[in-house]
């Protein structure tokens, strides 16, 4: 069997076993004894795998373990139930890593410290008196010469090893081998008295010192002499040497330069391999892919599939995005221009900065390539240029301008809130002096407004473009990456900005152009903080809906929402996807529109406009998802009904509230003069007509009516296109069709309207289309219960699929292993202890036996002696 074992042993193992290098010291023996080796047979031989555990040495490891136990467990056992114990506090006694020399040195140092510490701490002058053999070292020192003190430190006060060795027994004992012959000599010296010995020693050492001193002096003299001689010869020897000598001095800075350069090169950012510039085709392709992905996401949401899958990334970064670190550069520039007065002279540096900025920007763009679309990049570029332009301009300005401006900026520096308030106050005094400059110049830093009134104060009195710039700068100065609280500040800013937009819309006249300019900012902020943005939007919608609801509860109807709400709704469409099946903002917005369209009666030209805006918004909201909005059709039908002359109106179609078949408002869209249609030309209705229709004359009013009718018909047309697929398409549009075909006085309308009218009638078939009757969706048949055993094809243990599961599995396994190991060790411990106890008892018994035996022995001899004595007597 053993032979077989050996035969399975592979070559490398044999090598290990037999190689002489591994045999060291007393352990060498085991290798020769094959019975001490345990070989773990490998099942499969994997090439190139090194296994640690192919050979085991049970004997060795056992003795190791026993030794270890003896060191630890046994000691503990011996000390068990003992109050006192011996603690070895010698420095580094158990530190095996320390070299013995170190240990000794350290101990010595500690010893010295200890003695020193005991000294009077207030005694500053007197140092410790060093002694040697009871003699003060200071005394000894006095005996030496002054030259002696100058001598090399390593020899100062120390005696040579040989001397020490020969005179003080211990000194170099370790180093010195004791030769057998020396013994006699030592013994002869022993005869001299101690006093004599010391005197001799001192003499010897002084002599040595003196000799060394003189030697050294001689050597020095000689070298000096040599030097002088050499110098005198040097000039004669080489002709060019003095030049070299002269060159030496200017060479030094050059070397420095070089060094500097080398160092600079070392520290400088290495040119990193940038990504390859993409061709326009590649860019376009990437862009298309990105859009396709986003669109696919949108479609999923529209169908309501991934409603619960909330891990939606929103990492799209727009052209206006600020999340790219680009801000930091801007910020640099900000501080630069901020200290204009001081930095002006140093043009080069500024340029350098600008250059860096540029490259930085480009790099960013490169990085962002994957995300930024082409136009976005362009935009960014434009914006940057614009900014730089602004910056440059302001620099110039500040060049020209006096310290007044600096003051202004200092003020900005001082208090952030003050800046806002102080500005108008300043303007009164100083604008006269420097109107142009002050107007062109905007402060570069803005504090984030803490309240809506702060923002208003900041923005009031500026042109639309300036306002945009201010908001942009607020945004940049308070970028979340710059300070901890900035995120909250910008989130607030979004709310204030929306509020401001609402206020702009409610002004008379509404400043919609300014609103328009703010839209990119709002969009960018929304992309940065979607959570805050949707909260703000929700609260705006909720508040407005709440007030509308209250009015409905009291009066049963409500007035159309103001222009601000229309703008908000439009912004909702711009910021959030309206096609989602359910969305925390757009769904309430839908409900809001529906509420307004069903509960707000149309009583005036203004409300016509308001209703149409809402209708357009509704159409826009559903243009992608093609969802059905009944209120929209009802409302358009009601509006068209207003254009029908009274006499033709019969009950052929049913109107839905808030519209009434008759009533004073039911003829609102009737043209007062059919001639008006001749002079009418289509143009967009101003949004402000929601608040006030400017038309004063009958003709203008008729024109307005025609515009409204045109919009109305166009929306109907869009609806027919949107809902063509619905099974009840015809039923939905039947009332509209009846109205358009039979009652609307189309003949009096301009040709473009007639055209629209015709198109709509064509789009709605007179007879309903055919449909298959409804059937339930086919369900998957539920499989019968089977009695066969379940066969799992996945053989073996099921492994965790996720990383966590695997990790868990691994840890479990490890725990089990450790647990088993610990158990084993504990068992071994107890066995060892039992053995130790047993051996204790055995040894105790043996001792006792021995003593008893001894006693018996002695007694026996006593007895023997006594008997012998008795025998003697008897004899």
């Amino acid at each position: 069997m053993r032979c077989k074992l050996f035969s399975s042993m592979d070559a490398s193992l044999a090598k290990i076993l037999l190689s002489p290098t591994t045999c060291t010291g007393s352990r060498g023996g085991w290798l020769n004894n094959a019975f001490e080796v345990k070989i773990n047979r490998k099942k499969f031989d994997v090439l190139g795998r090194k296994s640690k555990h192919d050979v085991g040495l049970p004997g060795v490891s056992r003795s190791k373990a026993i030794n270890k136990r003896k060191d630890t467990l046994l000691k503990e056992f011996r000390l068990k139930n003992k109050a006192n114990k011996f603690v070895d506090r010698r420095f580094g006694e158990y530190d095996t890593k320390m070299a013995p020399e170190d240990k000794i040195l350290q101990r010595f140092a500690l010893e010295r410290q200890r003695t020193q510490a005991k000294k009077d701490i207030y005694n500053l002058n007197e140092e410790e008196e060093l002694t040697h053999y009871g003699q003060s070292l200071a005394e000894i020192e006095k005996l030496t010469d002054m030259v002696d003190s100058d001598s090399d430190s390593d020899e100062k006060g120390l005696l040579s090893a040989e001397l020490t060795a020969s005179n003080f027994g211990g000194g170099g004992g370790l180093l010195r081998k004791k030769r057998p012959g020396e013994n006699d000599e030592d013994e002869s010296q022993k005869h001299k008295s101690r006093q004599e010995l010391i005197e001799e020693l001192i003499l010897k050492s002084k002599q040595e010192k003196r000799e060394r001193q003189s030697q050294k002096e001689e050597a020095q003299e000689l070298t000096e002499k040599l030097d002088q001689e050499w110098k005198s010869i040097q000039n004669l020897l080489v002709h060019k040497t003095p030049k070299a000598e002269r060159m030496e001095e200017p060479e030094k800075p050059k070397l420095d330069d070089y060094d500097v350069m080398v160092r600079e090169l070392g520290f400088e950012m290495k040119a990193q391999p940038s990504e390859k510039l993409k061709t326009p085709e590649e860019l376009a392709k990437e862009e298309r892919e990105r859009l396709q992905k986003l669109e696919a996401d949108r479609l999923k949401r529209m169908l309501g599939d991934v409603e619960e899958n909330a891990t939606q990334k929103q990492s799209h970064l727009s052209a206006d995005d600020l999340n790219d670190g680009f801000i930091l550069d801007n910020d640099d520039r900000k501080t630069l221009s901020y200290k204009d007065g001081k930095w002006n002279s140093d043009g080069g540096e500024e340029e350098g900065q600008e250059g860096e900025e540029g490259t930085g920007g480009e790099e960013e763009e490169d990085d962002e390539d994957g995300e930024d679309d082409g136009s976005g990049v362009d935009d960014e570029d434009d914006e940057e240029e614009e900014d730089e332009g602004e910056g440059g301009h302001s620099d110039l300005d500040s060049d020209q301008a006096s310290g007044a401006e600096d003051e202004e900026e200092e003020e900005n520096d001082e208090g952030e809130e003050e800046a806002a308030k102080a500005k108008p106050a300043l303007s009164e005094e100083e604008r006269k002096a420097m109107q142009e400059a002050a107007k062109a110049e905007l402060p570069y830093t803005f504090a984030a407004p803490e309240s809506f009134s702060d923002l208003k104060a900041l923005l009031d009195g500026h042109s639309a473009e300036k306002q945009r710039l201010i908001v942009e700068r607020i945004q940049k100065c308070n970028h979340p990456s710059l300070a901890a609280g900035n995120k909250a500040k910008l989130e607030k800013l979004f709310g204030f900005l929306l509020e401001y937009v609402g206020e702009l819309a409610m002004r008379t006249p509404p400043e919609l152009a300014t609103v328009n300019i703010f839209i990119p900012q709002v969009y960018a902020l929304c992309q940065l903080f979607p959570a805050a943005a949707h909260k703000v939007m929700q609260s705006l919608l909720g508040d407005s809906a709440h007030s509308m609801e209250e009015s409905i509860e009291v009066k049963g109807r409500a007035a159309f929402p103001g222009l601000d709400m229309m703008i908000y709704l439009k912004i909702v469409a711009l910021l959030f996807p309206t096609s989602d099946f359910r969305h925390p903002v757009t769904t309430p917005a839908f409900v809001y529109i529906s509420q307004a369209l069903t509960k707000c009666p149309v009583t005036s030209l203004e409300s016509l406009s308001a209703g149409l805006v809402l209708c357009s918004l509704a159409v826009e909201f559903v243009s992608l998802s093609q969802r059905f909005v009944p209120e929209l059709i009802n409302f358009l039908l009601g509006l068209l009904h207003m254009a029908v002359p009274a006499d033709t109106c019969t009950g052929t179609y049913l109107l839905v509230p808030p519209f009434k078949q008759q009533g004073k408002a039911s003829k609102l869209l009737l043209l007062s003069d059919a001639e008006a249609s001749n002079s009418w030309s289509r143009k967009a209705i101003p949004l402000t007509s929601v608040h006030r229709v400017t038309a004063s004359t009958d003709l203008e009013k008729d024109h307005y009516r025609l515009s409204v009718l045109h919009t109305c018909l166009d929306l109907v047309k869009r609806c027919t296109l949107l809902y063509r697929q619905l099974p009840s398409y015809v039923q939905i549009f039947q009332p509209v069709r009846t109205l358009l075909a039979k009652h609307l006085p189309v003949q009096s309308y301009p040709s473009s309207l007639q055209e629209l009218h015709r198109e709509i009638l064509e789009a709605i078939p007179e007879t309903p289309s055919k449909h298959a009757p409804l059937v339930f969706e086919k369900k998957k048949p539920i499989p019968l219960k089977l009695l066969e055993p379940k066969i799992v094809l996945d053989y073996g243990k099921k492994r965790g699929n996720t990383k966590e599961e695997r990790e868990r599995e691994r840890l479990k396994h490890k725990y089990k292993k450790e647990f088993k190991g610990a158990l084993r060790e504990l068992r071994k411990d107890t066995r060892f202890l039992a053995q130790a106890k047993l051996s204790d008892i055995m040894s105790r018994d043996a001792e006792r036996k021995r003593k008893v035996k001894e006693l018996y022995g002695s007694l026996a001899t006593q007895e023997g002696e006594w008997k012998a004595l008795r025998m003697k007597k008897r004899k």
Binding site: P584, T587, V591, E631, T688, L774
Partner: protein, 528 residues
Amino acid sequence: MAPSKKSSVKQSEGGNSEISYKKRINTKTELLLQSRRHANDIFDVLEYLQSEKEKEVIFAINACQKIFCALLERGDLYVGQLPSEEEMVEGDRDADEKYHIFIRHRYSNCVELLLDNIGHEVFQVKEAALTALMKFAAAEGQHPLQKLEFSNHYNFPLELILAVVRCLLSGTEDMALLISRFQEFLEMDDVRYYVMSSIRDTITRVMDRNKRAVMPVFQNNVFTLLTNITIPSQSAEINNFLIRQEGKYEDWKAAKLKEQKRAFEQTWLTFLKYKLPGNMYKKVLVILHDSILPHMNDPTLMIDFLSAAYSVGGAVSLLALNGLFVLIHQHNLDYPDFYKKLYNLLDPSVFHVKYRARFFHLANIFLSSSHLPVYLVAAFVKRLSRLALTAPPTGLLIVLPFICNLIRRHPSCRVLIHRPSAADELCNDPYVMDEEDPAKCHALESSLWELKTLQSHYHPDVAKAAKAVNQPLPGLEDDLSKLLELTTFELMERDLKSQSLAVPLEFDPAGGLLKSAKEVLGVHFSLE
């Protein structure tokens, strides 16, 4: 009239009139009550009733109340048929009698003035006048001014009450506030009874005089007064009287519940006999089923009114349903073509009116019977789903489960959402929307394509509810009660309150207000 002749007195006082009028009235009152000698001072007090300062009027009213109540108690007022003042001088009466007659005349003057004051513009004055009059009524009841005859031995100041009611039921002014003040008197059983008869009297008089034309204010006042009348539910509760009759309650009509109910019933019928303004119709119908019908002796008397209302159409009909339901359910009313009418009630406005919840609640009850013919249920289902195409989301959230419930109750209606027999044949919708007879509208041959349409409704909840018909309906009916009162704002709040972590954003960057990829608003409107 006597007091007006002496109108020279009061206006000159000026500055210190504030205290002086109080003092003067008080002293006069005291004098009057002390001795007959000062009887003429009553004119001065009555003068104050016509003053322009409401404080004076109120003070005077209180004084009058005090004076005449005291006098009534003393029996200083003439009892019996009152001779006119001219007669008084002529006839040979003793001074005592003359004095009585004089005081009685002053009393009726005072009552007249107080009734005038009920029409005063200041509420406090009205209120004071009203309470004073009711005090008089109480006092008169204790000390009747008419000689009791045997036939009518229950003394109650009928004329006074009638006069008060007439004033309350003004034709020109909304008296709602005063009427609510008057309610405390209406809790007294005798007052209530006589007020009801007075109301009847007033209605007939006023309406006949107006040739039965609609009088919104008057009718509104009547309605307010009538709604303030509540008949106790048990006869034991009738024990609260303004005027104590001495132990003769058994035969007194006012003390009998049945009589009270009869009076109540007749009053309402009288009121409803005349043409009512539109909103009054609705108001009556709203309270009809729970505050009128239970208090009537014979609720079936209301059938005429209710069926008339039911055929009016629109919201009125919807409201009449409730009353009709009570009659059909509790009083065995057999209403021909009830379901046909109900069917015809369904029009787009059903989803928009205020009483939507009530209507669907009742419709749910009416259609809960499992004995209804299938064609009828199918017609309802089909019509409702057709109308759902114009409904707002809150309406849809009611009607969709409603339809599903109907189909569950009547499994034979399942063909409407599941017709596997003709699954592949395309067909036109055979349903005729304009047909008034549910039997002839071919609803059962149709399918609910409307629900299919609504599956693409913009509101996710509606779309989900509509998608229920894609699968076989689960056995349990949906609970409608929570959905009935759902308002649009609540619907909106569901989404606003929901805590969603990730909010999807629009990925098309926005360049301007009217510059999006799918712009519609910008096509028709400009930024101006």
